[in-house]
């Protein structure tokens, strides 16, 4: 990475071509993302190091086989797909910034909406990585490319997921890229070039998480997943985790940088989470009522998850931790006085975030396989390789999220202009 050469002064009467200014814009982004305080360099170095540990664990897994994971023919998806599911929600949750900003013309949100869009970009990159590390044969990824391979669309829900996730990535790259580029040029963004795309992104956000839920709910042989409530539940919990993450991000930015964040923006998000967290809990309760009141063999997974089955109870601590965290967070969000302390708001956000992460992963993907379709109980607990790869992808996601904010903020504030 090299520093951009100083732009030659432009004659005022001749607008320069995009062929000249756009590469210059990209170079400026790179330069901004790699410039920062010593703390910034330390943070980025730590994230890079963790990412490299993950990359090494993944490369070893590809070479020696997925035997290095704890997955089995009984529990054939584990920590990777659990994280994938959760992070699709995080990506979709970013849209909860977009709706108030553009649909309700909330001024405070307008200034910070880019955080949601950048989060979406980082999260989708993480999703694609989590799917890739879960493949037994990543060298054959081209078999999935339309035109080159055989893309089983529209029958396989996984092909739909490939389309909507990549589409969401492109949409958000366009919105962020366009807004930043016009700011860089010192022009006003033209509504027709981004507003329709912003509205599209709202629908698209819903679609990515709906399609991801359909991956599981469409499987008749897995009673825990085979529920019409799965997609709405996924959306509700996504609209908890996404805004919670952004609230904490805004507090961190306010604390560590001179970026001024309007407290009204935080309040808007708090109001959103206050409602979505209750909707999510309500749906979890409805699901459990239906399962346990009716009873029978098809609720074995739910029984295993919540109470243990035939002496096996590996996931019981996980799910009760998740329920506890979600309930405590819900109560905190409902309490107006709690919401006046940034520390407590952040704590509530972290509780909700971790609670949803468990609920969707170790509390949903894994128990879907236990007991197996022949009612055998084989338990699962992630291996060191899986934890390393997972930590690596999270670190890489945070790395690009941080770098994007680092580059975007000075441009948005008009500190970095072409020429």
């Amino acid at each position: 990475m090299t520093e951009a050469s100083p732009p030659a002064p432009l004659p005022d009467d001749r607008p320069s071509s995009h062929f000249v200014t756009y590469p210059r814009f990209l170079l400026r982004l790179v330069r901004l993302a790699t410039d920062g305080s010593p703390a910034y360099y330390v943070w980025m170095t730590v994230l890079t190091a963790i990412s490299l540990v993950g990359a090494n664990a993944w490369a070893t897994q590809v070479a020696d086989g997925m035997i290095l994971t704890s997955m089995t023919d009984h529990v054939s998806w584990g920590l990777y797909i659990a994280n994938f599911t959760f992070i699709v929600g995080l990506a979709a949750g970013g849209v909860m910034m977009v709706i108030p900003a553009y649909l309700y013309r909330n001024r405070a949100m307008h200034d910070v909406v880019i955080l949601g869009e950048l989060l979406a970009i980082a999260a989708i990159v993480m999703c694609l990585l989590f799917v890739t590390v879960d493949l037994g044969r990543p060298d054959r990824f081209w078999h999935m490319m339309p035109g080159l391979g055989r893309f089983n669309w529209p029958i396989s829900m996984l092909t739909w997921d490939v389309i909507v996730l990549n589409g969401y990535l492109l949409i958000n790259l366009h919105i962020c890229g366009y807004l930043l580029y016009t700011r860089f040029l010192g022009r006003k963004p033209e509504l027709r070039f981004y507003r329709p795309i912003v509205f599209l992104s709202v629908f698209w956000a819903v679609s990515i998480h709906t399609v991801t839920a359909f991956l599981y709910s469409g499987l008749g042989g897995r009673p825990l997943w085979n529920s019409a409530l799965l997609a709405p539940r996924f959306l509700a919990s996504a609209f908890v985790a996404g805004p919670a993450f952004i609230i904490v991000t805004m507090y961190v930015l306010r604390r560590l940088t001179d970026v001024r964040i309007d407290i009204k923006a935080v309040n808007t998000l708090v109001q959103i989470v206050r409602v979505t967290i209750l909707i999510n809990l309500l749906m979890v309760v409805s699901e459990l009522f239906t399962e346990f009141y009716a009873g029978g063999s098809h609720i074995s997974s739910a029984r295993y998850l919540f109470f243990g089955l035939h002496g096996h109870d590996g996931l019981v601590p996980w799910i009760w931790t998740a329920i506890g965290l979600n309930v405590v967070a819900a109560v905190m969000f409902l309490h107006p006085r709690v919401m006046q302390h940034p520390g407590l708001v952040s704590a509530a956000c972290v509780f909700a975030f971790v609670g949803v992460w468990i609920e969707k992963g170790m509390g949903l993907i894994v128990p879907g396989f236990i007991p197996s379709t022949l009612h055998e109980i084989v338990e699962y607990s992630p291996s060191l390789t899986e934890w390393k790869v997972t930590a690596g992808i999270w670190a890489f996601g945070l790395l690009i999220f941080t770098a994007m904010i680092q580059a975007a903020v000075p441009i948005l504030r008009g500190q970095e202009r072409a020429a």
């Binding site: 396989s156 879907g368 396989f369 009612h375 055998e376």
Partner: protein, 311 residues
């Protein structure tokens, strides 16, 4: 995190600033560390030949290309295990749709079918893999939750019956629907097959199957050279690569040539009946006509070609 002192244009006056130099060094170190971190991938690339990487889907290969692929696979098998094997590409027989039935009154859970499958299909020795699982079930109940697959006592046990389960070769197979790359499909004779050279190893089919019929190669299978069954089929029992899915294929390398599946031949009780559902004189048709048969998890609408009955 934000730069309190954004680099002013003046900072760029010198052609190479100290910061640029530091960035250059950092980038070089980072790239070097990345290359070192992913270096285990090199071990894998030496195992996957360019021809294998470029190979097209089974259905897109011409006759000549298939022959070429098979020659390559045979050569690779010889090189890797030192064993001469013959891989053929048996086509479905027109007018044939295979069906399987098990007489649960005769099956006594001895597990010979499980072993025969293990040997016939070149399964991994380390994990003792097989396409068949036998559930020891409680008499008077079809509830699998009361079943047990890990029994190791003398059979048959008091008050138990035995339920062998393998791929049900569904007419409406959920595993085929979910595959994102069409690496698994249903053949003319009803057998659901996997192209081991096309599967990307996402394991969505394994999640979708309601019968636990699919097996994943979590590592490269280990079969000692002298134990390898050299009579192999491209879509059936050839030694599978690492990281791909496999499943019961009704021993198509045998059954498409008029032989019976290995599990049937090994069964000492005569509980297994196999044949062509389209042939009115076949044994399987006699069973369907004269016995009260049932299929597993009928309510899921998978329409199995695998039947069970009690005498």
């Amino acid at each position: 995190m934000s730069d309190k002192n954004p680099s002013s244009p003046a900072a760029g006056d010198r052609p190479v600033s100290r910061r640029t130099l530091a960035k250059g060094i950092g980038t070089t170190l980072g790239l070097g560390a990345f290359a070192a971190a992913v270096s285990p991938l090199m071990r894998r690339t030496s195992e996957v030949s360019a021809a294998e990487f470029m190979q097209q889907h089974y259905k897109d290969l011409s006759e000549d290309e298939r022959a070429e692929v098979i020659r390559r696979l045979e050569a690779e098998a010889l090189e890797q295990s030192g064993r001469e094997v013959t891989i053929r590409d048996q086509a479905p027989i027109p007018g044939t749709k295979f069906g399987y039935a098990i007489n649960l009154s005769l099956c006594n859970g001895n597990g010979k079918c499980v072993e025969a499958c293990h040997r016939e299909n070149n399964h991994d020795r380390d994990t003792n893999q097989s396409y068949i699982r036998v559930l020891e079930m409680q008499r008077g109940s079809m509830d699998m939750e009361k079943g047990n697959t890990t029994y190791d006592h003398t059979v048959p046990a008091e008050d138990k019956f035995y339920l062998p389960v393998q791929c049900q070769q569904c007419d409406n197979p959920p595993c085929v629907d979910v595959c994102p790359v069409e690496a698994t499909w249903k053949e003319q004779d009803g057998i659901v097959v996997v192209d081991y050279n096309w599967c990307i190893g996402c394991r969505y089919c394994e999640a979708a199957c309601p019968y636990h019929a699919r097996r994943f190669n979590w590592k490269a299978p280990n079969v000692p050279a002298e134990e390898i069954n050299p009579d192999q089929g491209y879509l059936s029992n050839r030694v599978r690569p690492q990281g791909v899915m496999e499943k019961c294929h009704f021993c198509l390398h045998r059954t498409r040539e008029g032989k019976l599946p290995a599990c049937l031949e090994a069964c000492p009780t005569g509980a297994r009946i196999f044949g062509n559902l389209l042939d009115p004189d076949s044994d399987i048709r006699w069973v369907l006509a004269n016995k009260q048969v049932l299929v597993l998890k009928e309510e899921l609408g998978t329409v199995p070609s695998f039947f069970y009955f009690f005498d």
